[in-house]
């Protein structure tokens, strides 16, 4: 099989892994080395689905001995199979990198022969890249669930980021859809990587010569909409992962129906809007000081499709509003819908010189469409309706909703007369209620 065909098969097989970030690592380089890492991460291209190409994302092989229902590479699927050799991966990575097509390598693999065998092959590749090629670019490696801790630890010494994908947010879903995987096999390596990261960071603080271990941190991915798990389950799990295992990122991947299986929901479109709302909540957890239990509870286990999670939260806590733009503390400003991290910082900065007028707010990047109902400026309230939940809800509710969520689907819905995008909501709901 020629290299082009292999590349097509094995990048196609890897594409449902959404992580692409190349940020947060620090790897010292010297003159004469090939490569460097950029703290902010760099995107090199964008595919027609709007996702960035930063890392060269491939599977080592898609020959798999597992039979997970949601996965296109499952053993029982009749699809073309391929496997790269160690040198092919290294060669492609170096040549692409030298031409500035990519920021580094994202290497994953199906479980070939055994978890240990697969992990050994992956480790060989990253070791050779670092030691033989002197490659200092970004490497993101999958830790294979069930592989030996020693192997995972060795790989960690060469890579910038490691991830173990949880994929299914509860053990019951895992049992149904991924019968070969065990919960412990996922969380044990995650825990061990996290412990090693912390201890290596301590070492590094003492001496900058100490070896690096996964300096870009750890991430994971959850599939959205393939199982009846609620957003509350998902966000609570996310919160725990950030608190307990100090993960850098949790990624969400709207389920794309690649397989037909009695255990899977039959959906037309991936629930991308739900995925979007989860990402918004994830940002609230990481940068806005929110906790999962503030956003959702047992009575409201799912995010509102019509309003972003911060607006939903604010509408349910109107007693805490309006806040005075010229007095409110930074953490409080961050809780106002329509004010983001950057505009909150601009408010804090400008206030040190002089109080702000309402007419200044737009210049600072505040989205007044939402913010007007939740703020006062020099004690005056500027909202177009009174501070009342129902009225604000009515004013903020999107009127042309299908157009709004149809964004993603403008290409597909061009020639269909039915309001197809609306199916999105039903899709996500059917999966939520377990009618699958």
């Amino acid at each position: 099989m020629d290299i082009k065909t292999k590349l097509e098969i094995l990048s196609d097989a890897a594409k449902y892994d959404v992580s692409c970030s190349s940020s947060g690592s620090r790897r010292p380089t010297q003159k004469g080395d090939l490569g460097s890492t950029a703290a902010a991460g760099i995107c090199h291209s964008f595919t027609p689905d709007g996702r960035c190409i930063s890392l060269f994302k491939i599977l080592l092989t898609n020959y798999c001995q597992y039979d997970c229902a949601y996965c296109m590479n499952r053993k029982s699927n009749d699809i073309p199979r391929a496997a790269f050799t160690v040198d092919e991966v290294i060669d492609l990575t170096i040549h692409f990198y030298r031409r500035n097509y990519i920021e580094g390598l994202f290497l994953s693999s199906a479980i070939f022969k055994s978890p240990n065998h697969t992990m050994e092959l992956l480790t060989t590749i990253v070791r050779k890249l670092r030691q033989e090629q002197g490659f200092k670019g970004y490497i993101h490696l999958k830790a294979i669930p069930g592989a030996d801790e020693i192997l995972i630890h060795e790989a960690g010494l060469y890579v910038d980021r490691m991830s173990v994908n949880i994929e299914l947010p509860s053990s019951s879903s895992l049992k149904r859809l991924a019968p070969d995987k065990k919960k412990e096999e996922i969380f044990t390596p995650m825990k061990s990587i996290s412990t090693h990261i912390v201890s290596h960071q301590e070492e590094w603080k003492k001496s900058q010569k100490a070896p690096l271990f996964v300096p870009g941190g750890q991430s994971t991915q959850l599939i959205i909409g393939a199982t009846p798990d609620s957003d509350l389950n998902i966000l609570t799990l996310t919160q725990k992962l950030y608190d307990k295992y100090r993960l850098k990122r949790v990624y969400y991947s709207a389920y794309v129906p690649v397989n037909k299986d009695k255990e899977l929901p039959s959906i037309e479109n991936p629930p991308t809007l739900r995925e979007h709302r989860l990402y918004q909540s994830d940002w609230l957890l990481r940068f806005y000081g929110f906790r999962a239990n503030e956003l959702l509870d047992e009575e409201h286990p799912n995010l509102d499709i019509y309003f972003d999670p911060k607006t939903s939260w604010a509408l349910a806590h109107l007693d805490q509003f309006p806040v005075e733009i010229n007095k409110a503390s930074y953490p409080l400003l961050l809780r106002v819908p329509g004010i983001g991290v950057r505009s909150a910082q601009r408010i804090m900065s400008s206030r040190r010189i002089a109080p702000l007028d309402y007419s200044d707010l737009k210049k600072l990047g505040i989205v007044l469409k939402r913010a007007q109902y939740f703020i006062t400026c020099n004690t005056k309230y500027y909202g177009s309706v009174a501070l009342d939940e129902d009225r604000i809800r009515k004013a903020l509710r999107p009127t042309s909703f299908s157009a709004d969520i149809g964004k993603t689907y403008e290409q597909l819905s061009l020639f269909t007369s039915s309001p197809k995008p609306l199916l999105l909501i039903e899709d996500s709901l059917s999966a939520l209620t377990g009618e699958i």
Binding site: E8, K31, I42, N100, A354
Partner: protein
Amino acid sequence: MKDYVYDGSFEGLLTTLFYTYKEKDSLCIYKKEDYIPSLIEEVLTIITEEDKADRVYRSLLSKLSFETLTNVYHLYLSDLPQSENLILDYIRLCYQYSATINLAKNNPIIHKVENYTRKVTLEAHRMIGFVRFREIHSGIFYAQIEPDHHILPLIIEHFQKRFSNQYFIIHDLKRELALVYNKQEAYLKDFSPEEKEKLLNFANKDGFEELFKSYYKATTIPERLNERQRRSYMPRRYWKHLFEVSS
């Protein structure tokens, strides 16, 4: 109204600032290459004076701040119309109220400065990703770009660090200028369109562009097409030099 015309160099601009700072009349500053002579306006040609430029540079750094100086430099690189006049307004404002005025993000001048400088730094960041090298000879790499702003000086450090063991040239076609790195040092050099033709003739057909195109296609998820998002991250005007989308 007076028109001040300078040679287009940063030192030239600093010299111009030296002479215009105290000017009471309204005035316009132009780069020589952009200037269209006018019959009505009085024209003053500024000749770059190293000592004046140096004085302004030091003053910006010590009396104002490193941040202010950086903003002035980024505004200069923006190549946007009237950016020199904005620089003059900006430093007048800063000298009047001290560099802390930079905190007042609601001030119209500060607001505009932030807008312009963000355009420049955003494009520099994007270009770091969008440069596509071709191997024109074993171990020598060549790329073409056509950025809106003069961002070559801002990307030198990154590329020098990243590809310290390969020769490379990044050619800004719009400004006929190239960033050249010879494994020892990196510098900017005038580059004519003829040289570009010559260099491209050497480009190897090594097949990696084809391979990357296959990768680009295979890694797309057709169920999630989102053209608008792609264009917002990777605007059409850059596509000409991105082979994976250009044809």
